[in-house]
Structure formats: C-alpha cells, structure tokens
C-alpha cells in the first residue's frame, strides 16, 4: 500500500456540519475523478452531534488502493482543515500529525495571530488561511439529522467552496478544474483558490509538496 494522505476536517456541530461534510466529500470526489483511490467519512465518534460541539470529518486519498478497511478515524492526519477558527483554541487539532503536516484555517486573521493559539505549531510544515466567511458567508443548517442523505442544497454551496479552492491550491491533491465540476458555487471556489494566504515553515519531508 502506498502513501495514504489523511485529511481531517474540524467543524462545529449542526451549524457548520454540512459545510465540513462537503469539504471532505467534494475533495475526495474530485481526487477520485483524477484516478486516485479515496475514502470519505462522517464522524460517529463525536456524535451525538449538538450545536457548536466540535466534530470531525475524514477523507483519505491515495495513488494505490486503500487497505484500511475497518478504521475510519484518521490517527495521523497529514492535512487538518479548520472550518471554524475558534476550534484551534479549544482542541489540540494537531494531535497525531506527522512532522511537516499542513494546517488550513478558515479565518480573516493574520497567520501569526493564529499561531499563538497552537502551542505545538513546530510540527507544522506549512499553514494556510482563507477567509471563507468573508468570501461566501453562507452556512446551510440542516436539522433533518439525515447526515446528507436528503441534502438538496448541493455540494459546496456555502463556505465549503472557498475552503476547497484553498485546499486545491495548497495540497495539490485535487485540481481546481475537477472541483469546479462538483461544487455549486464556482465563483467562491475561484476566489478561495486565488485569495489563500500560505506560509511554509521548515524543510518538508520528501512526501509532502505543500504549496504545489
């Protein structure tokens, strides 16, 4: 089995649940369109999903078939995406991350300011911020409890689109063109792709190519 890139998306329950689910699902789907092997899961460990509770979504991308069949949680996430920036204050989001990983935060604050809240930031290979709330600002609230089963809003209609654009540019695991076929709000995807702020920290490990 080749290298599996693990992506963990942190979000707040109910109020931004759909957005994070879209990030994991749409990014995995775009990578699949490019011939990669993918998995994407909602979380069942952090449930019951309550308003504002921190929850996770997971995606995995690999060039070869993924043979992790029974564990859906990412123990060693290479990429951590924060859909709501306050989460960095209350959770050790880099838990289990191998050295040189990537952190993407949806915030309009400067990167240096966000790093103050991450005591173990020396693990990071790179950090990126994108102001998805400023670009799109739409948060679809789904109270049906169906976890996407009856989702009629479409993938990436809200703040998920700019975050996906930023991920496409910084991770290089899926192309923007493939994401544009999936995401509803293509204009926000483009803006996220162009407006992402990015900072590399240290010499990265050979398997990481953050920043393209």
């Amino acid at each position: 089995m080749g290298k599996v890139t693990e992506i963990t998306v942190w979000t707040r329950g109910v109020v931004m649940d759909k957005e994070a689910r879209d990030v994991a699902n749409a990014f995995a789907q775009a990578a699949k369109m490019e011939g990669k092997f993918v998995q994407a899961f909602d979380n069942y460990e952090d449930l019951p999903d309550r308003v504002l509770v921190t929850t996770r979504k997971y995606a995995r991308i690999s060039d070869e078939e993924i043979e992790m069949k029974y564990l859906y949680t990412n123990a060693h996430p290479d990429v951590v995406v924060i859909v709501e920036p306050t989460i960095v204050k209350g959770i050790n989001v880099l838990k289990g991350m191998p050295e040189g990983g990537l952190l993407i935060i949806n915030t309009n604050r400067p990167i240096d300011y966000m790093l103050k809240f991450i005591p173990n930031a020396d693990l990071l290979g790179a950090i990126a911020t994108v102001d998805a709330d400023g670009i799109s600002g739409v948060k679809t609230v789904d109270f049906s409890g169906s976890e996407g089963g009856v989702d009629t809003a479409g993938l990436g209609a809200g703040i998920a689109a700019p975050i996906l654009g930023a991920m496409a540019r910084v991770t290089g695991l899926a192309k923007k063109e493939s994401l544009a076929k999936i995401v509803s709000d293509v204009a926000a995807l483009d803006r996220g792709y162009n407006e992402v702020k990015f900072e590399k920290f240290r010499k990265q490990r050979s398997e990481y190519f953050w920043g393209g």
Binding site: L52, V53, T54, T86, K89, G90, F117
Partner: protein
C-alpha cells in the same frame, strides 16, 4: 455477576453521597464557544435577567463586589443573555480576541 466497584469508590450499602456540587469538572464545555458575552459593569442594573435566562447557570452574583460574575468554564456562547439583557450591558466578543478562557482538550468533549 456482581458489579466490580473500584476500591476508592466503594461505599457501604445505603450510604449517602455528598451534596451535589455546582461544577462538574469532567465536562468543561468552554471550547464550544465562538463568541463570549462581555459585561459592562457600568451599564449593568443587577436585574438578574441573565441569571434567569442562562440555560447553564453561568451567571451568578458576587455579593462582596456587588456585580455579576461569568463562569467561563461552562458558557457555550449561546448568546441568550446578550439578547435578553434589558440594559444592553452585554456584548458578544469573538473568543479569538482573548488569549485565555478556554480549556484545551485532546478530544472533542
């Protein structure tokens, strides 16, 4: 099969446990907040509306200093007190403006 109780938690049959404590330290929910209520003590009229409205009893009255006190450990940032305050003494301030006031956890809760 008898229930295995750890030695330090064993109590005699019919024992009375201590009175319920006010704060359960095992379930700190400060990391649920996106914004926090900040009180302006000049505007506050001590009407206790926030004390009544808060679902988690995070507002209490400090009788020595004669002002309302906020419990940062269990406030979930629901903003009910901010909406209910008749004197507009409370305002919502983003949690990221402050460096402290959130317990950092390894797990979501």
């Amino acid at each position: 099969m008898p229930i295995k109780v750890p030695k330090d938690r064993e109590v005699p049959f019919g024992a009375i446990t201590p009175a319920p404590i006010k704060q359960q330290e095992l379930f700190i929910t400060s990391n649920w907040r996106i914004v926090r209520p900040v009180i302006d003590h000049e505007k506050c009229t001590r009407c206790f509306t926030c004390y009544i409205a808060c679902p988690d009893s995070c507002w209490s009255f400090n009788e020595k200093e004669e002002k309302m006190e906020w419990n940062w450990k269990f406030c979930k940032g629901c903003q009910i007190c901010i909406h209910e305050c008749p004197a507009d003494a409370l305002s919502a301030v983003p949690e990221l403006d402050f460096e402290d006031g959130v317990v950092r956890l390894e797990k979501p809760f």
